[in-house]
Symmetry: C2
Subunit: 443 residues, 2 copies
């Protein structure tokens, strides 16, 4: 073997390593771009349904994970993965019925105008492809997003993901608009305000000689802090971008696949039909599957004037996994479960808010709940430090959760859709304890 | 359920569909961007080792597929996939030893300067991330690639992938250089010429006020037509880009993981150490795994000044699969096999060339062989139509193969690395038949 073919000594060390040793190994092998959750990171070794387990066998309630949407290591999904991987896994330039059966089933959840799909492996790839389609259609590159959006990690999308922080500069082709914030703004004005903001963004692009290509928005404004209401809030803004020659791209990477409890997609709650819909995270319950659902005239145009191929996208294994996820969502009636459990959980949180002053606002849909924490309900001063603390206190209570929003004071409550009534009760009990602890130390 | 939650009628039709029906369904559901190989596309249903099987049970020899590098549906790889998927699949913001054991094993195949790795899901994502790192390091965006390169499908990389054809416009930040073509140019001059071309490209970028960020080259110039020699051909060009403040990014998505028979990577044959190395296709034997291997000082800089997270990249399942692929490459001594079988195959092709005038040049390394077909050995007029025909004749003879190069007259011979002596004999026999048929009809 040559220099590069020679193995250095190594051995699998995970089994008897301390957390500190694992962290040191991470820093050495993966570098500083890899971040960890929590002051005291969790070393996970197993997952099952709603539960995650650490190396000591401790059980954690997963309130964070919208990826493992039908539950960790779901047997039906793993079986589909295994059986297809044993049979065949190859690219899409041969005929295979798996991708078509899956495409057909998936498109069945969309309004009839959205009748074609292209596959990719990640939400980033899906959003990036949607931009290519929008660039071609509009002849421009101008992109309108919300102020704290996250859309992906490619060269182009990182420039359109302000939630990555100040270190990543926004592209000169990007304009941001405030999300329809119904807590810090008047809900009755939200729809008109959002449309006016998009109109201003279009004008700003045009003034800079940049043709608007798309309005790209998350169907529930996840990274902006979760805004699900009022119904129809985005619709006038969609008219604005279309009038300007751009497309409305619905980013369903976070809210998609039944989480809102009102059907499969965040956008459909508003009764509007996008031009392109991007799918990712929950689509394969953790397996790298993503896609762009489109009006066929856009793909006709794209197919005639450009080219796209994704070696792994839409392969038979990915298709089998995606299909199995849809079957579980149906068989276990997870959309209805998201609605019922979401309502229960919100009722419990409303109850809690009567006793816990830190809770400023509770919003969302189904099992995508945003909970905004404030130091003072009158001034609505963000309780950013308290939220960070709360997330860490909850981790010690074996509840895994995360925060979002421009001030980091919005808890994103987003458990797998197999969440039960008992899971909700457990969460509420520990959450109340944690809130009291945080309130006591910060008072 | 709402409008979008309602299922349209559908049923799995694959089992009793004709190829024509499947093609019609593809066009309807996936649109025109999805292309098929061969005049008469192949409907595959199963794979095992070197073999692929169609719906009628016919067996095809896979001479195309550098993705299923250790063989289709390899039991060791599928077992690793299955066991980890049954156990846990989650993102990298928790501690998990799987990604570290894999990173450690993978980095063991690299020179010591390249000691850190970041994970993604596709070669496109890996190249795109490498560009983000190079942009940050150089402060520029200028990119130098070869004339018929393919580097990926994102907004940025599609602009740096001339092999996508004229429909995709090259970016204004891109300059192309001819590959070191040792058939149509003097091999003794190849190294100096390649360096001079890169120098001119740098000058052209600088004249346009574009700072050079990187020289991004495929370690075996796959899409340019496969150029593996002379050893060291890229090295002076690498010095040029570094002198200009840019990085040398080795795109190992196609040649990587032992295919060249001279160790694991295409670049290492030249005895040069890249700044960044991008990995994809064969890394997971078809599972979506990719990565960027880097000099740690570049990731320190990137981690301090930018952010990256990939939901699926480096998850426990991907790490287990990647690790299993490396184990198979070792256990089955596939690098040595690539070398021996590659030498045998080339010797057989040289023999064939004595009888078949269409063969103009045979080149490559290990089991990555480029075979250039010409109408006339003196004028070297490309036999482009004959090559297209040959690919289709071979398909009828149950040999799956593809072509590349700017004139489409280079066969890419790239079977899974478990290729045997008997597979080679079978290929050579059918290839000779096919060559005779094509020569007879085009004479």
């Amino acid at each position: 073997m040559t220099m590069s073919g020679t193995m250095r000594n190594h051995s699998a060390q995970g089994a008897h390593e301390t957390d500190e040793q694992i962290m040191a190994r991470r820093a050495r092998l993966l570098g500083p771009a890899y971040r960890l959750f929590y002051e005291r990171p969790v070393h996970l070794v197993r997952g099952k349904g709603i539960w995650l387990y650490d190396a000591q066998g401790r059980q954690y309630l997963d309130m964070y994970n919208n990826v493992a949407c039908v539950g960790h290591a779901h047997p039906h999904v793993v079986k589909a993965l295994h059986e297809q991987a044993l049979t065949l896994n190859t690219h899409t330039r041969y005929l295979h019925s798996g991708i078509l059966d899956y495409a057909e089933k998936l498109l069945g959840y969309f309004p009839p105008e959205l009748s074609q799909v292209m596959f990719a492996c990640t939400g980033s790839e899906a959003n990036d492809l949607a931009l290519r389609i929008a660039h071609l259609h509009s002849g421009g590159k101008g992109l309108i997003i919300t102020e704290t959006a996250y859309h992906g990690t490619t060269v182009t999308l990182a420039q359109a993901s302000p939630s990555l922080g100040a270190a990543v500069t926004l592209g000169d082709f990007v304009r941001t608009v405030p999300p329809p914030d119904t807590y810090r703004g008047d809900p009755d004005q939200a729809r008109a305000r959002f449309a006016a903001d998009v109109r201003s963004a279009i004008a700003s692009l045009e003034a800079a000689n940049i043709k608007p290509a798309a309005l790209l928005i998350d169907g529930i404004f996840s990274s902006d802090g979760v805004f699900a209401h009022p119904i129809g809030v985005i619709n006038d803004a969609v008219d604005e971008i279309r009038r300007a020659g751009g497309l409305y791209i619905a980013d369903e990477v976070q809210p998609g696949f039944g989480r809102t409890g009102d059907g499969m997609w965040g956008f459909s709650r508003h009764g509007v039909v996008p031009d392109l819909v991007t799918l990712g995270k929950p689509m394969g319950n953790g397996h790298p599957v993503a896609g762009v659902v489109a009006r066929p005239e856009l793909l006709t145009e794209f197919g005639a004037r450009s080219r796209y191929f994704n070696t792994f996208g839409g392969n038979p294994v990915s298709a089998a996994v995606g299909n199995a996820v849809l079957e579980v969502i149906e068989d276990e009636t997870l959309i209805a479960n998201a609605r019922s459990r979401g309502l229960e959980l919100r009722a419990g949180l409303e109850e809690l808010a009567k006793r816990c002053e830190l809770i400023g606002d509770i919003r969302g849909a189904g099992l995508f709940i945003g909970l905004e924490l404030v130091k003072d309900r009158k001034t609505r001063e963000p309780a950013s430090a308290e939220t960070a603390k709360l997330v860490n206190v909850l981790r010690e209570k074996q509840i895994l959760i995360g925060a979002a929003g421009p001030r980091g004071n919005c808890l994103k409550i987003r458990p797998p859709l197999c969440f039960s009534k008992e899971n909700g009760e457990m969460f509420l009990a520990r959450f109340e304890e944690a809130l009291s602890e945080v309130a006591a130390t910060s008072a």
